[in-house]
Protein backbone atom coordinates (compact mmCIF):
# COMPACT_ATOMS: atom_id res chain seq x y z
CA UNK A 1 0.00 0.00 0.00
CA UNK A 2 2.81 2.34 0.84
CA UNK A 3 6.17 2.73 -0.72
CA UNK A 4 9.16 4.94 -0.43
CA UNK A 5 10.09 7.36 -3.14
CA UNK A 6 13.27 9.29 -3.45
CA UNK A 7 12.90 12.81 -4.69
CA UNK A 8 15.15 15.71 -5.36
CA UNK A 9 13.80 19.20 -5.25
CA UNK A 10 14.71 22.79 -4.72
CA UNK A 11 13.22 23.97 -1.49
CA UNK A 12 12.78 27.49 -0.36
CA UNK A 13 12.98 28.07 3.35
CA UNK A 14 11.14 31.27 4.29
CA UNK A 15 13.06 33.79 6.37
CA UNK A 16 10.81 33.22 9.38
CA UNK A 17 12.11 29.68 9.69
CA UNK A 18 15.76 30.46 9.42
CA UNK A 19 16.27 30.42 13.18
CA UNK A 20 15.30 26.77 13.37
CA UNK A 21 17.86 24.00 12.97
CA UNK A 22 18.40 23.39 9.28
CA UNK A 23 16.85 19.95 9.07
CA UNK A 24 13.76 21.03 10.93
CA UNK A 25 13.26 24.06 8.72
CA UNK A 26 13.71 22.07 5.55
CA UNK A 27 11.41 19.35 6.77
CA UNK A 28 8.78 21.95 7.55
CA UNK A 29 9.07 23.41 4.07
CA UNK A 30 8.91 19.94 2.52
CA UNK A 31 5.84 19.03 4.51
CA UNK A 32 4.08 22.13 3.38
CA UNK A 33 4.98 21.43 -0.19
CA UNK A 34 4.37 17.70 -0.47
CA UNK A 35 2.25 16.34 2.32
CA UNK A 36 -1.33 15.51 1.52
CA UNK A 37 -0.74 16.24 -2.13
CA UNK A 38 -1.08 13.87 -5.02
CA UNK A 39 1.89 13.57 -7.32
CA UNK A 40 2.22 11.26 -10.27
CA UNK A 41 3.60 8.65 -7.91
CA UNK A 42 0.67 8.72 -5.52
CA UNK A 43 -0.51 10.46 -2.39
CA UNK A 44 2.36 11.71 -0.27
CA UNK A 45 1.84 10.72 3.30
CA UNK A 46 4.94 11.44 5.27
CA UNK A 47 8.53 12.61 4.97
CA UNK A 48 10.69 9.59 5.70
CA UNK A 49 14.03 11.30 5.88
CA UNK A 50 16.38 13.74 4.27
CA UNK A 51 19.37 12.29 2.49
CA UNK A 52 21.33 15.34 1.48
CA UNK A 53 21.09 19.09 1.51
CA UNK A 54 23.06 21.35 -0.74
CA UNK A 55 23.09 24.98 -1.47
CA UNK A 56 21.67 27.51 0.86
CA UNK A 57 22.01 30.34 -1.56
CA UNK A 58 20.14 33.51 -0.94
CA UNK A 59 19.07 34.78 -4.30
CA UNK A 60 18.94 38.48 -4.99
CA UNK A 61 15.64 40.11 -4.25
CA UNK A 62 14.56 37.30 -1.96
CA UNK A 63 15.07 36.93 1.75
CA UNK A 64 14.71 33.18 1.76
CA UNK A 65 17.41 30.57 1.44
CA UNK A 66 17.09 28.02 -1.34
CA UNK A 67 18.37 24.49 -0.89
CA UNK A 68 18.63 21.52 -3.18
CA UNK A 69 17.40 18.60 -1.12
CA UNK A 70 17.36 14.87 -1.77
CA UNK A 71 14.87 13.16 0.48
CA UNK A 72 12.59 10.19 0.76
CA UNK A 73 8.86 10.26 1.31
CA UNK A 74 6.29 7.64 2.11
CA UNK A 75 3.74 7.52 -0.66
CA UNK A 76 0.37 5.82 -0.68
CA UNK A 77 0.27 3.94 -3.91
CA UNK A 78 -1.44 0.56 -3.89
CA UNK A 79 -0.36 -1.89 -6.57
CA UNK A 80 -2.80 -3.64 -8.86
CA UNK A 81 -3.81 -6.87 -7.23
CA UNK A 82 -3.41 -5.67 -3.68
CA UNK A 83 -6.15 -6.57 -1.24
CA UNK A 84 -7.08 -3.72 1.04
CA UNK A 85 -9.61 -3.47 3.86
CA UNK A 86 -11.74 -0.35 3.67
CA UNK A 87 -14.95 1.01 5.06
CA UNK A 88 -18.18 1.78 3.34
CA UNK A 89 -18.73 5.41 2.57
CA UNK A 90 -21.63 5.79 0.18
CA UNK A 91 -23.20 4.16 -2.80
CA UNK A 92 -25.12 5.29 -5.79
CA UNK A 93 -26.41 3.84 -9.01
CA UNK A 94 -22.92 3.69 -10.51
CA UNK A 95 -21.43 1.66 -7.76
CA UNK A 96 -19.91 1.87 -4.32
CA UNK A 97 -17.54 4.31 -2.78
CA UNK A 98 -15.24 3.14 -0.04
CA UNK A 99 -12.98 5.05 2.24
CA UNK A 100 -9.68 4.38 3.97
CA UNK A 101 -9.91 7.24 6.42
CA UNK A 102 -7.01 9.09 4.90
CA UNK A 103 -8.04 8.37 1.34
CA UNK A 104 -11.63 8.51 0.29
CA UNK A 105 -11.69 8.00 -3.44
CA UNK A 106 -11.98 4.27 -3.80
CA UNK A 107 -14.73 3.36 -6.21
CA UNK A 108 -16.20 -0.03 -6.96
CA UNK A 109 -18.16 0.37 -10.17
CA UNK A 110 -21.31 -1.65 -10.70
CA UNK A 111 -19.80 -4.32 -12.99
CA UNK A 112 -17.34 -5.27 -10.26
CA UNK A 113 -19.94 -6.02 -7.63
CA UNK A 114 -20.72 -9.73 -7.51
CA UNK A 115 -23.64 -10.74 -9.67
CA UNK A 116 -26.48 -11.30 -9.53
CA UNK A 117 -27.15 -8.11 -7.71
CA UNK A 118 -29.65 -5.37 -7.68
CA UNK A 119 -29.65 -1.78 -6.73
CA UNK A 120 -32.54 -0.44 -4.75
CA UNK A 121 -33.23 2.91 -3.16
CA UNK A 122 -32.02 2.91 0.39
CA UNK A 123 -34.92 2.89 2.80
CA UNK A 124 -32.92 4.67 5.48
CA UNK A 125 -31.37 7.38 3.45
CA UNK A 126 -33.36 8.78 0.63
CA UNK A 127 -30.44 10.07 -1.37
CA UNK A 128 -28.55 6.86 -1.59
CA UNK A 129 -28.99 3.64 -3.42
CA UNK A 130 -28.27 0.36 -1.77
CA UNK A 131 -26.65 -2.61 -3.40
CA UNK A 132 -27.81 -6.10 -2.59
CA UNK A 133 -26.13 -9.31 -3.64
CA UNK A 134 -28.33 -12.32 -4.23
CA UNK A 135 -26.57 -15.62 -3.73
CA UNK A 136 -28.73 -18.70 -3.83
CA UNK A 137 -31.59 -17.88 -1.55
CA UNK A 138 -29.80 -15.35 0.56
CA UNK A 139 -29.55 -11.69 0.05
CA UNK A 140 -26.58 -9.75 1.29
CA UNK A 141 -26.79 -6.04 1.74
CA UNK A 142 -23.86 -3.71 1.27
CA UNK A 143 -24.32 -0.69 3.44
CA UNK A 144 -23.10 1.19 6.43
CA UNK A 145 -23.37 -1.73 8.80
CA UNK A 146 -20.50 -3.60 7.19
CA UNK A 147 -17.50 -3.12 9.41
CA UNK A 148 -14.82 -3.78 6.89
CA UNK A 149 -15.03 -4.33 3.20
CA UNK A 150 -12.11 -5.96 1.46
CA UNK A 151 -11.48 -5.07 -2.11
CA UNK A 152 -8.77 -5.80 -4.64
CA UNK A 153 -7.21 -2.97 -6.55
CA UNK A 154 -7.94 -3.13 -10.24
CA UNK A 155 -6.69 0.17 -11.42
CA UNK A 156 -5.34 3.49 -10.26
CA UNK A 157 -5.95 6.55 -12.34
CA UNK A 158 -4.96 10.13 -12.06
CA UNK A 159 -7.58 12.15 -13.88
CA UNK A 160 -6.31 15.44 -15.24
CA UNK A 161 -7.26 18.63 -13.52
CA UNK A 162 -10.53 19.87 -15.01
CA UNK A 163 -10.58 23.38 -16.33
CA UNK A 164 -14.26 23.95 -15.81
CA UNK A 165 -16.69 22.29 -13.54
CA UNK A 166 -20.35 22.61 -12.75
CA UNK A 167 -21.17 24.23 -9.46
CA UNK A 168 -22.53 21.18 -7.72
CA UNK A 169 -20.12 18.65 -9.17
CA UNK A 170 -18.30 16.37 -6.81
CA UNK A 171 -15.02 17.70 -5.52
CA UNK A 172 -12.24 16.86 -7.88
CA UNK A 173 -10.34 13.70 -7.05
CA UNK A 174 -6.81 13.69 -8.46
CA UNK A 175 -6.25 10.05 -7.65
CA UNK A 176 -8.92 7.43 -8.06
CA UNK A 177 -8.52 3.80 -7.08
CA UNK A 178 -10.88 1.36 -8.74
CA UNK A 179 -11.49 -1.83 -6.86
CA UNK A 180 -13.36 -5.06 -7.27
CA UNK A 181 -15.24 -7.07 -4.70
CA UNK A 182 -16.25 -9.81 -7.08
CA UNK A 183 -14.10 -12.68 -5.88
CA UNK A 184 -13.74 -15.17 -3.05
CA UNK A 185 -12.91 -13.48 0.18
CA UNK A 186 -13.67 -9.99 -1.03
CA UNK A 187 -16.50 -7.74 -0.06
CA UNK A 188 -17.75 -7.23 3.48
CA UNK A 189 -15.81 -9.36 5.91
CA UNK A 190 -18.99 -10.58 7.56
CA UNK A 191 -19.97 -12.42 4.39
CA UNK A 192 -17.10 -14.87 4.70
CA UNK A 193 -16.88 -15.32 8.41
CA UNK A 194 -18.74 -18.56 8.80
CA UNK A 195 -18.18 -20.44 5.61
CA UNK A 196 -16.40 -23.58 4.63
CA UNK A 197 -14.85 -24.38 1.25
CA UNK A 198 -17.44 -25.92 -1.02
CA UNK A 199 -15.15 -27.89 -3.27
CA UNK A 200 -11.46 -28.52 -3.46
CA UNK A 201 -10.81 -27.32 -6.94
CA UNK A 202 -12.51 -23.97 -6.87
CA UNK A 203 -10.04 -22.15 -9.05
Amino acid sequence: MFCLSELEDTVRVPPSDLNLPLEVAIKKALQKLFLDKVLSIGLCVSIYGIKSIEGGFVLPGDGAATYKVVFRIVVFRPFVGEVIAAKFKESDSNGLRLTLGFFEDVYVPAPLIPTPNRCEPDPYNRNQMRWVWKYGDDEFIIDDSCQQIKFRVENISYPPVPTERAEDAKPFAPMVVTGTIDDDGLGPVSWWEACAPISDDED
Binding site: M1, F2, C3, L4, S5, E6, L7, E8, D9, T10, Q31, L33, L35, D36, K37, V38, L39, S40, I41, V45, S46, Y48, G55, F57, L59, P60, G61, D62, K68, V74, F79, G81, E82, V83, I84, A85, G101, F102, E104, N125, R126, N127, Q147, Q148, K150, R152, V161, P171, F172, P174, D183, D184, G185, L186, W192, C195, P197, D201, E202, D203
Partner: protein, 204 residues
Protein backbone atom coordinates in the same frame (compact mmCIF):
# COMPACT_ATOMS: atom_id res chain seq x y z
CA UNK B 1 29.73 30.63 -3.51
CA UNK B 2 29.39 32.80 -6.53
CA UNK B 3 30.69 30.37 -9.06
CA UNK B 4 28.24 27.66 -8.07
CA UNK B 5 24.98 29.36 -8.93
CA UNK B 6 22.44 26.91 -10.34
CA UNK B 7 21.64 27.21 -13.98
CA UNK B 8 18.30 28.90 -14.23
CA UNK B 9 18.11 28.64 -17.99
CA UNK B 10 19.94 31.87 -18.53
CA UNK B 11 20.37 33.27 -21.95
CA UNK B 12 23.96 32.93 -22.70
CA UNK B 13 25.86 36.09 -23.37
CA UNK B 14 23.12 38.50 -24.30
CA UNK B 15 20.79 40.11 -21.92
CA UNK B 16 20.91 40.86 -18.29
CA UNK B 17 21.48 37.63 -16.36
CA UNK B 18 20.05 39.20 -13.24
CA UNK B 19 16.82 40.00 -14.99
CA UNK B 20 16.48 36.51 -16.35
CA UNK B 21 17.14 35.08 -12.93
CA UNK B 22 14.56 37.14 -11.10
CA UNK B 23 11.88 36.69 -13.72
CA UNK B 24 12.34 32.94 -13.80
CA UNK B 25 12.13 32.83 -10.03
CA UNK B 26 8.94 34.86 -10.01
CA UNK B 27 7.35 32.78 -12.71
CA UNK B 28 8.19 29.66 -10.84
CA UNK B 29 6.37 30.82 -7.79
CA UNK B 30 3.40 32.03 -9.78
CA UNK B 31 2.82 29.28 -12.22
CA UNK B 32 4.42 26.03 -11.47
CA UNK B 33 3.56 25.53 -7.88
CA UNK B 34 0.29 27.17 -7.09
CA UNK B 35 -1.97 27.23 -10.14
CA UNK B 36 -4.79 25.04 -8.99
CA UNK B 37 -5.73 24.67 -5.39
CA UNK B 38 -8.97 22.86 -5.15
CA UNK B 39 -10.35 22.90 -1.71
CA UNK B 40 -12.13 19.68 -1.04
CA UNK B 41 -14.93 20.48 1.32
CA UNK B 42 -14.90 17.00 2.71
CA UNK B 43 -11.46 17.10 4.10
CA UNK B 44 -9.98 20.53 3.65
CA UNK B 45 -7.35 18.95 1.50
CA UNK B 46 -5.66 20.89 -1.23
CA UNK B 47 -4.69 19.05 -4.34
CA UNK B 48 -1.67 20.03 -6.26
CA UNK B 49 -0.19 18.73 -9.43
CA UNK B 50 3.51 19.00 -9.68
CA UNK B 51 4.25 19.46 -13.36
CA UNK B 52 6.75 16.73 -13.93
CA UNK B 53 7.62 17.82 -17.41
CA UNK B 54 8.66 21.40 -16.79
CA UNK B 55 12.21 22.57 -16.16
CA UNK B 56 12.27 23.21 -12.48
CA UNK B 57 10.99 19.83 -11.60
CA UNK B 58 11.37 17.28 -8.97
CA UNK B 59 13.65 14.55 -10.15
CA UNK B 60 12.67 11.31 -8.63
CA UNK B 61 13.08 7.66 -8.20
CA UNK B 62 9.52 6.53 -7.94
CA UNK B 63 10.04 3.32 -6.09
CA UNK B 64 12.81 3.15 -3.57
CA UNK B 65 11.23 0.28 -1.70
CA UNK B 66 7.81 -1.02 -0.75
CA UNK B 67 6.74 -0.72 2.83
CA UNK B 68 4.47 -3.06 4.72
CA UNK B 69 1.71 -1.48 6.78
CA UNK B 70 3.67 -2.38 9.86
CA UNK B 71 6.71 -0.38 8.76
CA UNK B 72 4.64 2.74 8.20
CA UNK B 73 2.96 2.28 11.57
CA UNK B 74 6.35 1.82 13.15
CA UNK B 75 7.57 5.02 11.55
CA UNK B 76 4.61 6.96 12.92
CA UNK B 77 5.02 5.38 16.34
CA UNK B 78 8.68 6.28 16.43
CA UNK B 79 7.66 9.88 15.99
CA UNK B 80 5.35 9.63 18.96
CA UNK B 81 1.94 9.00 17.48
CA UNK B 82 0.92 6.49 20.09
CA UNK B 83 1.88 8.42 23.20
CA UNK B 84 0.11 11.62 22.46
CA UNK B 85 -3.60 11.51 23.24
CA UNK B 86 -4.15 15.19 22.61
CA UNK B 87 -2.61 14.94 19.16
CA UNK B 88 -1.17 18.37 19.36
CA UNK B 89 2.29 17.91 20.82
CA UNK B 90 3.84 15.24 18.63
CA UNK B 91 5.21 16.42 15.28
CA UNK B 92 2.63 14.54 13.27
CA UNK B 93 0.23 16.04 10.77
CA UNK B 94 -3.52 15.42 10.57
CA UNK B 95 -3.12 13.24 7.53
CA UNK B 96 -0.54 11.11 9.30
CA UNK B 97 -2.93 10.67 12.20
CA UNK B 98 -5.60 9.47 9.83
CA UNK B 99 -3.15 6.95 8.42
CA UNK B 100 -2.28 5.96 11.97
CA UNK B 101 -5.94 5.44 12.85
CA UNK B 102 -6.41 3.33 9.77
CA UNK B 103 -3.36 1.21 10.43
CA UNK B 104 -4.28 0.59 14.05
CA UNK B 105 -7.30 -1.33 12.85
CA UNK B 106 -5.35 -3.59 10.57
CA UNK B 107 -3.27 -6.58 11.64
CA UNK B 108 -0.22 -4.33 11.47
CA UNK B 109 -0.71 -3.05 14.98
CA UNK B 110 0.13 -6.38 16.56
CA UNK B 111 3.20 -7.15 14.46
CA UNK B 112 6.86 -6.55 15.09
CA UNK B 113 9.83 -6.41 12.78
CA UNK B 114 11.11 -9.83 13.82
CA UNK B 115 7.75 -11.37 13.15
CA UNK B 116 7.51 -10.18 9.60
CA UNK B 117 11.10 -10.92 8.67
CA UNK B 118 10.69 -14.37 10.15
CA UNK B 119 7.49 -14.88 8.23
CA UNK B 120 8.88 -13.77 4.89
CA UNK B 121 11.92 -16.02 5.36
CA UNK B 122 9.73 -19.00 6.04
CA UNK B 123 7.54 -18.24 3.07
CA UNK B 124 10.42 -19.10 0.78
CA UNK B 125 9.30 -22.71 0.60
CA UNK B 126 5.98 -21.84 -0.91
CA UNK B 127 7.39 -19.85 -3.81
CA UNK B 128 5.06 -16.93 -3.37
CA UNK B 129 5.47 -13.68 -5.21
CA UNK B 130 6.69 -10.70 -3.20
CA UNK B 131 3.38 -8.94 -3.71
CA UNK B 132 1.55 -11.94 -2.31
CA UNK B 133 3.74 -12.09 0.78
CA UNK B 134 3.11 -8.38 1.27
CA UNK B 135 -0.62 -8.90 0.94
CA UNK B 136 -0.55 -11.76 3.41
CA UNK B 137 1.38 -9.74 5.96
CA UNK B 138 -0.97 -6.80 5.59
CA UNK B 139 -4.23 -8.72 5.57
CA UNK B 140 -3.43 -11.80 7.64
CA UNK B 141 -5.86 -14.23 6.01
CA UNK B 142 -7.37 -16.58 8.51
CA UNK B 143 -9.07 -19.00 6.17
CA UNK B 144 -8.73 -20.51 2.72
CA UNK B 145 -11.29 -18.20 1.26
CA UNK B 146 -9.39 -15.13 2.42
CA UNK B 147 -6.23 -16.56 0.96
CA UNK B 148 -7.97 -17.20 -2.36
CA UNK B 149 -8.28 -13.52 -3.16
CA UNK B 150 -4.58 -13.01 -2.56
CA UNK B 151 -3.08 -15.89 -4.53
CA UNK B 152 -3.02 -15.52 -8.23
CA UNK B 153 -3.62 -18.62 -10.36
CA UNK B 154 -2.68 -21.04 -7.62
CA UNK B 155 -3.58 -24.14 -9.60
CA UNK B 156 -1.28 -23.21 -12.43
CA UNK B 157 1.63 -22.64 -10.12
CA UNK B 158 1.24 -25.91 -8.34
CA UNK B 159 -0.11 -24.46 -5.11
CA UNK B 160 -2.60 -27.10 -4.14
CA UNK B 161 -4.86 -27.39 -1.13
CA UNK B 162 -2.04 -28.80 0.96
CA UNK B 163 0.18 -25.84 0.20
CA UNK B 164 -2.62 -23.41 1.03
CA UNK B 165 -3.12 -25.12 4.33
CA UNK B 166 0.60 -24.93 4.92
CA UNK B 167 0.56 -21.21 4.28
CA UNK B 168 -2.39 -20.74 6.60
CA UNK B 169 -0.65 -22.73 9.32
CA UNK B 170 2.37 -20.52 8.96
CA UNK B 171 0.18 -17.43 9.19
CA UNK B 172 -1.54 -18.81 12.25
CA UNK B 173 1.74 -19.68 13.90
CA UNK B 174 3.83 -16.64 13.09
CA UNK B 175 1.57 -13.67 12.63
CA UNK B 176 -0.37 -12.47 15.67
CA UNK B 177 -4.11 -12.21 15.30
CA UNK B 178 -5.58 -8.92 14.18
CA UNK B 179 -7.34 -6.53 16.53
CA UNK B 180 -11.12 -6.68 16.94
CA UNK B 181 -12.73 -3.87 15.02
CA UNK B 182 -15.50 -2.42 17.17
CA UNK B 183 -18.83 -1.47 15.73
CA UNK B 184 -18.37 1.98 14.32
CA UNK B 185 -21.99 3.10 14.49
CA UNK B 186 -22.24 6.62 15.85
CA UNK B 187 -18.55 6.93 16.44
CA UNK B 188 -17.82 7.46 12.81
CA UNK B 189 -16.66 10.90 11.87
CA UNK B 190 -18.84 12.02 8.99
CA UNK B 191 -19.71 15.14 7.15
CA UNK B 192 -23.25 16.37 7.46
CA UNK B 193 -24.64 15.25 4.21
CA UNK B 194 -27.73 17.31 3.77
CA UNK B 195 -28.66 16.71 7.34
CA UNK B 196 -29.27 13.06 6.77
CA UNK B 197 -26.61 11.48 8.93
CA UNK B 198 -25.42 12.31 12.42
CA UNK B 199 -22.02 13.87 12.53
CA UNK B 200 -20.27 13.13 15.76
CA UNK B 201 -16.53 13.57 15.53
CA UNK B 202 -14.77 11.58 18.16
CA UNK B 203 -11.19 12.47 18.90
CA UNK B 204 -9.39 9.31 19.78
Amino acid sequence: MRGALPNWGLTKGKGNWFHALVSSLASRHDQNYIPTNFLDHHKNRTYLFSPITSDKTVRMKANAGTLTNFEVLDLLNSRGASNDTTRVIAPITTLEYKVYDYLMETPACTQTLEIITNFSDQCEDFKLAKAEILNIINIRPSSTVNLASILEEPSERGIDKKAKEGILKLVEALLPSPPIVEARGENEEEETEEGEQLATAVLR
